[in-house]
Symmetry: D4
Subunit: 254 residues, 8 copies
Amino acid sequence: MASYVKDLVEGIKTGKISEEEAELLIRKAPFVDIGFAKVDMHRAVRQGAPEVIYGAGKTPKQIRAIVDTMMERGQEHILVTRIDEERAAALEDLVEFKYYPEGKIGVVGDMPEPDGLGTVLVVTAGTSDIPVAEEAAVTAEALGNHVERAYDCGVAGLHRTLSHMDQIMKASVIIAIAGMEGALASVIGGLADCPVIAVPTSVGYGASFEGLTALLAMMNSCASGVTVVNIDNGFGAGYSASMINHMAPKEDKE
Amino acid sequence: MASYVKDLVEGIKTGKISEEEAELLIRKAPFVDIGFAKVDMHRAVRQGAPEVIYGAGKTPKQIRAIVDTMMERGQEHILVTRIDEERAAALEDLVEFKYYPEGKIGVVGDMPEPDGLGTVLVVTAGTSDIPVAEEAAVTAEALGNHVERAYDCGVAGLHRTLSHMDQIMKASVIIAIAGMEGALASVIGGLADCPVIAVPTSVGYGASFEGLTALLAMMNSCASGVTVVNIDNGFGAGYSASMINHMAPKEDKE
Amino acid sequence: MASYVKDLVEGIKTGKISEEEAELLIRKAPFVDIGFAKVDMHRAVRQGAPEVIYGAGKTPKQIRAIVDTMMERGQEHILVTRIDEERAAALEDLVEFKYYPEGKIGVVGDMPEPDGLGTVLVVTAGTSDIPVAEEAAVTAEALGNHVERAYDCGVAGLHRTLSHMDQIMKASVIIAIAGMEGALASVIGGLADCPVIAVPTSVGYGASFEGLTALLAMMNSCASGVTVVNIDNGFGAGYSASMINHMAPKEDKE
Amino acid sequence: MASYVKDLVEGIKTGKISEEEAELLIRKAPFVDIGFAKVDMHRAVRQGAPEVIYGAGKTPKQIRAIVDTMMERGQEHILVTRIDEERAAALEDLVEFKYYPEGKIGVVGDMPEPDGLGTVLVVTAGTSDIPVAEEAAVTAEALGNHVERAYDCGVAGLHRTLSHMDQIMKASVIIAIAGMEGALASVIGGLADCPVIAVPTSVGYGASFEGLTALLAMMNSCASGVTVVNIDNGFGAGYSASMINHMAPKEDKE
Amino acid sequence: MASYVKDLVEGIKTGKISEEEAELLIRKAPFVDIGFAKVDMHRAVRQGAPEVIYGAGKTPKQIRAIVDTMMERGQEHILVTRIDEERAAALEDLVEFKYYPEGKIGVVGDMPEPDGLGTVLVVTAGTSDIPVAEEAAVTAEALGNHVERAYDCGVAGLHRTLSHMDQIMKASVIIAIAGMEGALASVIGGLADCPVIAVPTSVGYGASFEGLTALLAMMNSCASGVTVVNIDNGFGAGYSASMINHMAPKEDKE
Amino acid sequence: MASYVKDLVEGIKTGKISEEEAELLIRKAPFVDIGFAKVDMHRAVRQGAPEVIYGAGKTPKQIRAIVDTMMERGQEHILVTRIDEERAAALEDLVEFKYYPEGKIGVVGDMPEPDGLGTVLVVTAGTSDIPVAEEAAVTAEALGNHVERAYDCGVAGLHRTLSHMDQIMKASVIIAIAGMEGALASVIGGLADCPVIAVPTSVGYGASFEGLTALLAMMNSCASGVTVVNIDNGFGAGYSASMINHMAPKEDKE
Amino acid sequence: MASYVKDLVEGIKTGKISEEEAELLIRKAPFVDIGFAKVDMHRAVRQGAPEVIYGAGKTPKQIRAIVDTMMERGQEHILVTRIDEERAAALEDLVEFKYYPEGKIGVVGDMPEPDGLGTVLVVTAGTSDIPVAEEAAVTAEALGNHVERAYDCGVAGLHRTLSHMDQIMKASVIIAIAGMEGALASVIGGLADCPVIAVPTSVGYGASFEGLTALLAMMNSCASGVTVVNIDNGFGAGYSASMINHMAPKEDKE
Amino acid sequence: MASYVKDLVEGIKTGKISEEEAELLIRKAPFVDIGFAKVDMHRAVRQGAPEVIYGAGKTPKQIRAIVDTMMERGQEHILVTRIDEERAAALEDLVEFKYYPEGKIGVVGDMPEPDGLGTVLVVTAGTSDIPVAEEAAVTAEALGNHVERAYDCGVAGLHRTLSHMDQIMKASVIIAIAGMEGALASVIGGLADCPVIAVPTSVGYGASFEGLTALLAMMNSCASGVTVVNIDNGFGAGYSASMINHMAPKEDKE
């Protein structure tokens, strides 16, 4: 915003901007500021961060149009989530588009080099949780994180969980993904000494109530350091994990 | 019932019972039969099984009256559940009454010698689950089981759970008691090779919804061999555990 | 695990395994141990226990691949649950594969001889509950139990329930399956003197809420000895019933 | 209303009522009519029907004031529901007031002679359901019904239910009252050949959710002829039962 | 049952039935009795009552088979509910089969002459509730009731409700059917002086939660004389209404 | 009603109406009055108000028939809601029919000139909320309001919300439409100084529970001046907004 | 804000405000603006509008302190909601404080002269809803509205509702308050031709679920023109009603 | 664990440990390892981290006993949560105990010097949320974080939120605390470029359902970077925030 406000102040002083215009611009400026401040600052920290398109409910045409507009504006990295194969086909001719069908997610542009503090570990309880896990993993990769995957580690077969003990201890952030009773979050949360983001999934039947049981169980985890995102929200978990994995000392900005 | 029906048949044949009476008795007999059959059979298997009084909502006077009536009828072992200290006082003068305040449960008569197949292990996630656990444990003991207790073994501190590995492996039946997210049931269920009865408790706050979250989580346990009883139902778990721990070959009874 | 740990101890003693290797192996071993321990121990009790494949959400190809792998490893008995006819077709050429379409369940290998303590009785309230019942019944049979079926015994036609009185009295374990109001569990639980595993089903409409009403009702059963599994979880009920029906005295293993 | 409308018609015809007055009266009359019509008609069928005061949330003074007003207006039978002992004391000096503490219900005036088609049978699953049952029973008695009580007939002890078989078969209307899993309604509904009004109660704990489970179970009863009223609504059940027990041929009234 | 028990007593006396057989028969007899008692008694009251087949979840073939069996046994009136046009086609060649597509209900045999106390009035709030209403109406007609229909009488257009005032006042039983907020039951319940059976329907969207809102609202109706059945349960309402409309003085049967 | 009651009074006076008929007519009169009162008055206030047809669940034929009947009766403005393109086709040949596919809503007749107090502003949180918004906007337009649209203003990008600050401050009524967490209503409610009608939408996934979360959140808005309608109820919001935007001084009508 | 921004622009031009200060002020200004804009504008429309203090959870001391501060700042009208008698006592010595115990609400300063478009009618279903009604009524009065009250008009006694027909037809805004099944909102909504604000109350028992049933029912009202506020939120309803009752033509403000 | 395993290997090699003992020890070893690994590591990273005692449900005596034991073991920093004033009194004589009554939390030992990456900002929507906020803030302080507080910033008064814009932009982690509709999380989440931990509170009434509405709303936040903890779980939020604020590059530990 710096230059925008500077120009505004300059314009008022020199008279290029009339008093009426000045009033209007002052009223509007900070809102613009708020909007762009976040993006700018974000950019300041890590160049090349992608824009994100939430694909659910958008037609292939609409997605293509948004991507085209973004690319015309110079955006080279675009993350498209909740996009099935049919709609992904609308972007196929983009040489730089890579589609990951398991996570129903795609990326325009090269994957960035990982520049985080450490590893983001994505753990799932079962194999049916993998689509959510892949959404999380590809999101984190697209945001510049080294990602490791440990799938099918449900606590009902505790040796499966514990066989990933080394990865759990070495991770900087862990995304714990489980449906049904969601117990994975508590066990991982107790083992790890890093932030754990729990993702309930809609995997299960009967009294799993499409993920509600896992969500409630994860909210009640008695392990410290566990926070929770929405059911099946792999993207949100990947995004938060990336934020945490890119933490850095923060100076006052005034 | 055997002798009752035999007498009836005999009475019809000899004419001691009129046809009208016969019709009536035949219509009523099996209902009586059903009622006593269960108790009898039960008795046949293990002598000395106690009667059970559910104390909740009963006045001290009422409880005393029921106990007195039972004792007059010759019942020497009586289990009284959900009885607080104040109401327990009404039974204090019975020399053979022993009250266990933690589980709000008391027993008239000596505890029987354990005669089950093995050990009933009562495990809790936290210390706040102990009242439910004691209701379960004393119930099982009063029904003739050797009981071991392993409290405060919540999976968020997995080493606490695993430090009881030996007991878990050696138990014949395990009662897994937990509030909050109820993950204990899944972990125990995965480790043990015996039936696990899960008891959700109303321990927790916020989204634990007085035990509903634990109940739903336990219903969704992906570990095989886990079944669930009502929230805080320590008695039910102890009773079922005892039944399982007293399993024996069963012949046809015809 | 026995031989694995023995070899490890032997290797350390003889020096075949270096100290560094030893440390690593010891850290990892028990996890393996836990996993296999359960299976082994289980095996020790009853030879020929099948592996189980949960078919829901798996492609015909995936199921076939898992079965093939298991068979190559020498597994002769495999239970495949939640597998519809289309996916079952992928296993058709296996001479030893038998598919039970009502329960959407199939078995690789011969059914074992029943070796349990007694009979597992599978009771349903209505005819619509039969698919869940067949999943439970075939599971129990595949795990070595003599199974009897008593279908359409809903308590609203009490004579239908009571006409199976003999079977109820003679059973070692009963699986009570009902949708709608789930009252069957309470009535059976009151009549029987053996453990009763209640299975709520999603049968019903309106305020049955896909089985939630039956689940809640069964949790509240005032009959002692009743425990509950997830909605439509026939497999879980069959598995637990088999565990209970194979109870045996248990020595300390130290 | 008959006379009111007759007077009105008469007044118009004779000119005693002006056209303006007539218009106004006609617009207002039927509202009065509706209100009294119902009572009148009801009265036509059975003389001596009481007014009803719902005591919950009313002060002793308010209840007394309403009773006094009613009595001044000549009402000789008044039913006061949801009135605890303390508030009942405010009516003690009325010689004709009889208080039934178990049902927290009281009646001003003599109980009417039963004039219904048959017996209203009030059945409960447990002893804790008795307060609701007494509210229902006294309501029905105060409305002119012969009432029989059969308490503590829960289906988990089926012989207790069936020992009342004769009463069940002979009743004209049955009120089935149960908390917890509410199975009583289904069993009674299946046995009886008369209308059954099911009353869920808030008796229970844990997953009984203050009567919600019983309510949902009763709504799902697979027995035909069962309808349901609100949790703990003994009065409503008694009122409906009385209506049904006083059914009579109905002529067109035109 | 009379003759069955008589034969039994006779057989015992004459020795035609051995003691062993006698014991078995006595144990079983009353259950048979219970079952048939209800039907018999029912029959005693009104000849020609139809059997009912609940068509949901049954194949065309199964329905046909059941109908054929019933007809072979001499049953001339059969009510088939929840049967869509496709499955109804399986019964088309039966000359006496009449299908009512709106209520997805059909009847084998002639509709009986109405023999009830008065009229069953079926009222709906909207036109979308008509399928449930028709299920109720045809059921009541098939059970021997004179039925009137008053559709689209929702209270948000109170004049539409009130325009049926005459029918409401003259009815013997009213079935009030509504989705959304279910307010119809309260208004009708307040206007009528006869029993009202409320049927919530799954009509609505958003916060109607498939009928749950209407169900809860109807349970809370402050109008006396209203009882409720399950969501969309037109059959149940019609059945109960018929029972009430056929009330008659009841003698002791001993 | 005036003439109806006058005729009635006249008829009674002259004897043209018998006393019996008079009684019946007097009972019915006021209800007749009520019904037409509202419609008449409504018309009296603003000529040209359209009739509304709720299209959901109606066949193309039924909709066409209703429209034809209305047009024959002289109705020139008809609003048809919840009508998809297929059913809209049934009205295509009407020259004056205009279909708005985004809102699944159509209008017969010209849009009226706006005659409200000011502007109705329709704001949405996201683009997926637009269908509901268009239903609201077209409804308001068809009822004679100047409507402005501000879409995709979700508070998670607060600058997007605030960039419409001018419109928010100038609006007479605001319709705030949001799914997921529904926070838009609170922010708009806090910024605006006019009535805000909040519409929760079923947009979202997981714990949005088809709009329930947005509904509950909006009910709890701590901003004064916010009221709420049903999930996805764009029509209701548009209708209420129009009512408010047409507020005028109201004289007593007596 | 006008003068604030003018001063700012002036200051920048004249150099009284440095560029750095200017930047900061511009970033902050509009937020301040937004805050005060609303209040100012509000004030511009109607002088004397009171500040509101939500008393729930505040100590008598805290309430007194806030009132004192406001009065020192010159605020002469203050509305204090959710304040019980004990806490009201803390304000007793203020000569201009008037407390309304039924609505647990009090007002500092004189009630303003009504200056709205017409009458705000507050209707309740029962007498238990009066506290909520009084909160709504006093709020509306304190905000400058003529208020009429019509209590105990529940639709189960429809004549009670309809006896207020005149008031309903003449009102400018109606607040419809009901617990239990909340049907009042639909009936009033259908009768009135003005905006109706529905307030569910926590009055009821059993399946009223502390107002949830009434809330859901009101959301589903099929009457157009009905919007809903939170359970027991009399203040919110009164505030919205006042806003609507003070609607006026709105010019662009630029 | 290093030395434990080394000793074990050594013992096996030297024969000091028998083969039987070796087997048992190898099975147990890794679990022992797991338990201590976390605590050790934690300590390794930041010296002086406090032990935490969850005070809820513990007697003053129990809390004192635990504190005494910990202090004897040399623990100098102890955080005691959910401890009311009465129970805090039991620790009063400890010179180093400081109690924070607003957050019902106390600390034994000096507060550590902040050593995090930046500031933890604790924001609340209202003043009633402050107890939860103080639990979070004191927790974070006790774990070595610089904490700033911004209370009463609810989005319904957006200027209040935005007046803290600078703090929001400069924070390293934000804890957003709100009851009722929980919209604060979405707005803060959209403004901030750092991780936001949302804490729903049980503040509210009616449809806030003790925090469930806020919880669901926060789960659905459309702002990226927001994760959620349990209702009223200030401690959990403070703990997670501290973890994130102490993120550091992580090397492989092998």
